[in-house]
Symmetry: C2
Subunit: 268 residues, 2 copies
DNA sequence: CTAGCGCGTTTACAACGTAAACCGCTCGGG
DNA sequence: CCCGAGCGGTTTACGTTGTAAACGCGCTAG
């Protein structure tokens, strides 16, 4: 039992769960017959390197070495390290285009659209846990381009999907914001949690872990097992479902998403 | 009008809105009669420096200079740069203790407790927008110590508040997770949005901003004003309210938070 | 054949984090 | 009175980083 998962079958967003999400094109043999080094190859190698060694290990020199080349060679294709990282996050979310389960148009209803998109992003986050914090924290181009959906193309797609499904413009924008927050919070916490888990695992198996002394926190110790369960998939699903319900209410009642008023007597 | 705020009065969580949140004790005069340099002073100066110059500008040497001291002097109090950053995030969330509006016990009900805590954290995030990404992304000590509430003490406080208010243990833990996700997503996006706004503002006032070409994204341009509105405070409030309602349902119906069931008859 | 140029290398430098040695105080015990 | 010890900060030093600038190689066009 490597992953203590629920009995509802394996997590559908786990790596290799879907085809397109983790297609990074591996850098190939590092020295034999080496391909002519273009921007895409560099970004792919950078993603691969971060996935394998962690973000802090990514260095111009080391990335160059990984590609069988000197560090300065990269500067003919990329202006500098910062822009390399920008390119990395762009490339990573562009993997959404290669995901056959995510559509740009809401041809099966907006709920289907949002569901597929959310799981697509989750698949990416889980495929590149070391990259995702970068996706989350790199300053966006404009204030309204929000992580983790960082591209104009997806913002456009999202807004079209919602407005063409009957949402007012206000409601579509509000939905965009709520959706971004939901995705970012859940996925960032999920990958960080996973990162801690593997760090704790490969650090010291014979070492007794050096717990920080829980004697002052009896409730924490009592609930420790419960707290240690990884229910990420189910929680993600539930929170997504709840968001969709909220949006459905907004749509049905045609009211402004702000000031929801009158929850005194909910009919259901 | 330095801050284009809404007409509903100023944001109650804006800096100086509440007393305790931004008490960082300024580093004092950098060279005259300098205090004897202990760990707290160093961490305070680091926070101050990050707030003023940005995270990437924080350097051992520069922080030393800011304190009127050589870089190596810091190593007598802090093992290294990574631990300095850990100390910074710990210090920043410890500001919660100084906030008179946030309580460790739910003496006025769990909703009041969660409301106050959420706004306390939001105040901190807004007071230290450059630090908050660190709070969000630094790997926690244990997988169940989740940002942005990163201390055992607050986890304990949270769980006690909920269980003593009638939540089952499962429900309390689920609430803890949902609450963390909500806070993290909203606040990280809010500070990142603010960061982009000020960056765009001080970069070039005479420069026409170099927009990236929106001609392919007609819906984005049509909704641009709407998208550019900063409704963070209201959205935060609304999402928090919604979370509290969900939790109230869980409490009232006494059911497990997972498997809300009975969504069988969705019209589509 | 040769001038140019696309592409990768070499060299160079300032800034970084940090190990290690080095002072100059202020002590407390003889 | 001395004097070794140790605390607190400095100096020196080293390896690594990002990147500017000059260099060279091999191809292709005139």
């Amino acid at each position: 039992m490597t992953t203590p998962d629920d009995p509802d079958g394996p997590d559908p967003d786990s790596p290799e769960g879907r085809g397109g999400a983790s297609a990074v094109l591996p850098a190939g043999p590092p020295d034999t017959g080496r391909a002519p080094l273009d921007r895409r190859r560099i970004l792919g190698a950078a993603i691969e390197y971060i996935d394998a060694q962690g973000l802090s290990a990514l260095t111009m020199r080391r990335l160059g070495a990984h590609l069988g080349v000197e560090a300065m060679a990269l500067y003919r294709y990329i202006p500098g390290r910062e822009q390399l990282l920008d390119g990395v996050v762009e490339s990573v979310i562009d993997e959404l285009y290669g995901d056959p389960d995510v559509h740009l148009e809401a041809s099966h209803g907006w709920q289907d659209y949002l569901q597929r998109l959310a799981h697509g992003v989750r698949r990416i986050a889980l495929a590149h846990p070391e990259v995702f914090p970068l996706v989350a924290t790199r300053p966006p181009a404009a204030p309204w381009v929000r992580p983790p959906l960082r591209s104009l193309r997806w913002v456009e797609s999202f807004l079209v999907a919602m407005t063409s499904s009957g949402f007012s413009e206000d409601a579509a924008v509000a939905a965009y914001r709520a959706y971004s927050s939901f995705l970012l919070g859940h996925l960032l916490l999920e990958v960080s949690q996973k990162g801690v888990a593997v760090n704790a695992e490969d650090a010291g198996a014979d070492f007794p872990e050096a717990e920080p002394d829980l004697s002052e926190y009896p409730t924490v110790v009592r609930l420790q097992e419960l707290l240690s369960l990884d229910e990420s998939a189910a929680e993600f699903e539930e929170a997504l479902e709840n968001l969709l319900e909220r949006l459905e209410d907004v749509l049905r009642e045609g009211r402004s998403p702000r000031h929801p008023e009158s929850f005194t007597d909910r009919p259901d």
